[in-house]
Every structure is written in C-alpha cells, then in structure tokens.
Amino acid sequence: MSILEIIIQYREGFAQGLLVTLELCLIIWLSGLVIGGLLGWLSSRYKLYFDAPIRLIAFTLSGIPVLVFLFWLHYPLQSLLQIQINPFITATLTLSIINIFSVSDIVRNGIKDIPKQFIETADVCGISHKKRFWKIELPLIFRHAISPFIIVQVNMLHMTLFASLISVDEIFRVAQRVNSIIYKPVEIYTALGIFFLMISLPLNGLALWFKHKYARDFSEK
C-alpha cells in the first residue's frame, strides 16, 4: 500500500484529524496574537502592574516541559477541582497559555527595542500620540517581532501533537490509529512528516524572509 493509497483509503479520518489540528492551531494562534499582543503592550506600558507578573509567569512557564504542563492540567488539576474537561479544551488552553506568554515576550521586547529617539523625534515633529503609534511604533514593532512570532507559531503547530497524548483526535492520533490497523509506520509517518513540512517550511521561510528584509531597520539607532 503506497502513501497515496493509505491517504485515499483513510481520507475521512485524516481529514477529520487535520480539521482538529487546524482548529487547535487557529485558536492557539489567535489567542497568542490578540491576548499575547495585548499583554506584551500592557507589560511595556504599565511596568508596575503588568511587567513583573507577566515576566514571572513567562519565565516560570519556560521552565516547565509542555507535556508536564499539559498532563498536570489534564489529570491532577481536574482531579483536585473534581471537574472533567473535554481534552480538546484542555489542550487548547494549555497551548494557548504557552503561546500567549511567548508572544507577550516577543511583543514586549519588540517595543523595548525601538530606539526611544525614534519616538522622541516624532514628538519634536509635533506628531500626535495616535499617529505616532499607528505610523511609527506599530510598524517598527511589527518588523521587529514578525520573524520570531512566526517561528513561535510554527513551534505551536508542532506542539499540537502533544494533544494526542490526552486523547484529542488530531492528525497525529489519527495516524497512530491508522497505523494500528494496517501497520505501515514508514508510509504513515512519512506522510505525516510531509504534511507538517508543507505547512512549516513556507512559514519558516517567511520568517527568514522577514528577518532578512527587516534586519537592517534598526541599524540607524
């Protein structure tokens, strides 16, 4: 049985798994972008109330393996609280939390790394705060943050595989199931690898392109 034949025969299962993976990704990416971006901005703007707690959480999270965090939220926490949450929600929550704090770090550093003289120059030119934010700060933050942001999002896509370990029927779990039926590990995991390459490589390439394109931007500090 070739890779193509396996994919065709089990297309419904793979499509379902793909859908779950993409659904997971979409929620994780969006929450990272919106909430992480907001926290990063709050962290840079209101240092007293937001910066220290957010950095502390981000620092702590960076020291916990994703799988441990996921399992902890899935088993001990739910047992402690005597609740049972859908594994999809647990996986989404876990990975979203990780993404949110990763993105907040990127955004905060992006804001911090803008030379303050660019802002001061805008002030002495009489540019309003609103215009300064939209026309100067945001584009500069975007240029600084876009490359690491994309790389983190690709990593998050890869991390969705961990969801299979708490019984979320994403694409990796579907692949495992199919393999348990027909036992064709080489073909199945090669197909899976190609699938991830097809998504990850263009994104990584895009991140590299942004990095190359915008690396020169702060050279005039």
Binding site: P115, Q117, T121, D123, I127, P139, L140, D217, S219, E220
Partner: protein, 230 residues
C-alpha cells in the same frame, strides 16, 4: 512663504525679519546627574533670526543644555521661556510642549527606517497642501535623486538633508541642531553653513552645537564655550 533660499539658485531673496523680540530664554537652568552638576544656573537667549553656537569638550553639558532648552528633559530648576510661554522647573506635571514650533535635528538624525525619505519629511504635516513646499524643499536641498529612497539607501549627507527638510516643512520658529556636522566632509559642512545662514534670514532661531571652530565663526551670532563640569 516659499523656501527660495538659493542653495541651488543664486538669486538672493529678502525675508521678513518681524517678531525679532521673540526668543527662547533659559533662566538659571540647572541640571545634575547624580552628584555631577552638569548645568549650573545657565542663562541663555536664542532670538529668532539669530544663531547661538555652543562649543565645548565632551561631557561639558552641551547636549544637556539643548535637551533642557528644547524641553526634551526637565531641568532640575530654572525657567524656560518660549516666546510668551513660561515653563518653570521643578515641574512634576506633564505640560504641552511647544513642538513643532520648536524642533530638533539630532546628530544621529533618527529618520524612521520603515518610511521613505519623502514619507519621513511629510509624516508630521497635518495640512494636505504641502506639495509646493515639499517641491521647494526638494529643490533647495537637492534631494530629487534620493527623495523616494529609504534612509538605509541614502548616504549620511543625504540623510542629513532629509532630517533638515523634516524640520523645515513644519515651519518651526526655533531649531536645535545637535552636532550635525560631526560626520560630514568639508563640502557637506559648507552646505550646512549655507543652510543655517538661509534659516537665519528666514527669521528662524538657531541653537547649534558643533566642534568646528570655523562653523561657529561663520554662523554664530553668539558663541558659547562650555567647560567640563565638576
């Protein structure tokens, strides 16, 4: 009022010299960093149409004085008067700064790197009919060949002209220049001298920090030598 200064054209143009009593005054300006007193009750006047040149070794407080008078930093004590508006220090509250009536051209220029030179010049302009003034500035400063380049595609001298145009298009009454001649060759320095001379004739008050004696002598209506601080 146009910008026919004549850097590229030879016909001199007479500019109005009204409001000559307007000025920026620094009165008893003091500023310390830790135990180091950088400015100690400095008094200074910058009249419209005149250039005050400030010289002195590194660490003598030239830039600190610029930043205090341009209200970029708050002095510890003293008073800054811009025309009829007084700013008394110490002052903990935020106050509306007189930008872009007062503006600054920095040594490092700080052109926004994501914008073209043209966009750098026009970003701060609020009215939409700046086209004629921009064309005049492009012609006056000889920026035609690089106006649509990005700053990183432009030489230091070209970027300098863009930074000056960015200030001029806002029709300021006072411009502070922080060592803008330090990285320039002789020809470029001479161009700056001519520009400053034109700005004075346009009744703009100039505060100019430089290390070049001949620049100070050529443009300065008054020259202040600052000594190293304690």
């Amino acid at each position: 009022m146009g910008w026919h200064y004549g850097l590229n054209i030879n016909t001199p143009v007479i500019f109005p010299r009204n409001n000559r009593d307007n000025m920026i005054k620094g009165i008893n300006i003091s500023k310390s960093f830790g135990n180091k007193k950088v400015l100690n009750k400095v008094n200074i006047k910058i009249k419209q149409g005149e250039a005050v040149v400030v010289m002195g070794p590194s660490g003598s407080g030239k830039t600190t004085l610029l930043r205090s008078l341009a209200l970029l930093d708050k002095p510890d004590s003293g008073k800054v008067v811009v025309d009829d508006k007084e700013f008394v220090f110490p002052n903990d509250s935020d106050f509306k700064k007189p930008y872009p009536k007062v503006t600054v051209v920095y040594q490092q220029l700080f052109l926004w790197p994501h914008l073209t030179n043209r966009e750098n010049i026009t970003l701060a302009v609020e009215n939409t009919d700046y086209a004629t003034q921009l064309d005049e500035l492009i012609d006056y400063l000889g920026m035609g060949k690089f106006i649509d380049n990005y700053p990183n595609q432009s030489s230091v001298g070209q970027k300098q002209r863009v930074a000056i145009a960015r200030a001029l298009i806002l029709n300021p009454k006072y411009i502070f220049f922080d060592e803008i001649t330090s990285a320039l060759d002789e020809k470029q320095v001479n161009n700056i001298i001519k520009i400053i001379d034109d700005l004075k004739r346009k009744n703009i008050g100039i505060f100019f920090i430089t290390h070049h004696n001949h620049v100070a002598e050529k443009i300065g209506d008054s020259i202040i030598h600052m000594n190293e601080t304690e």
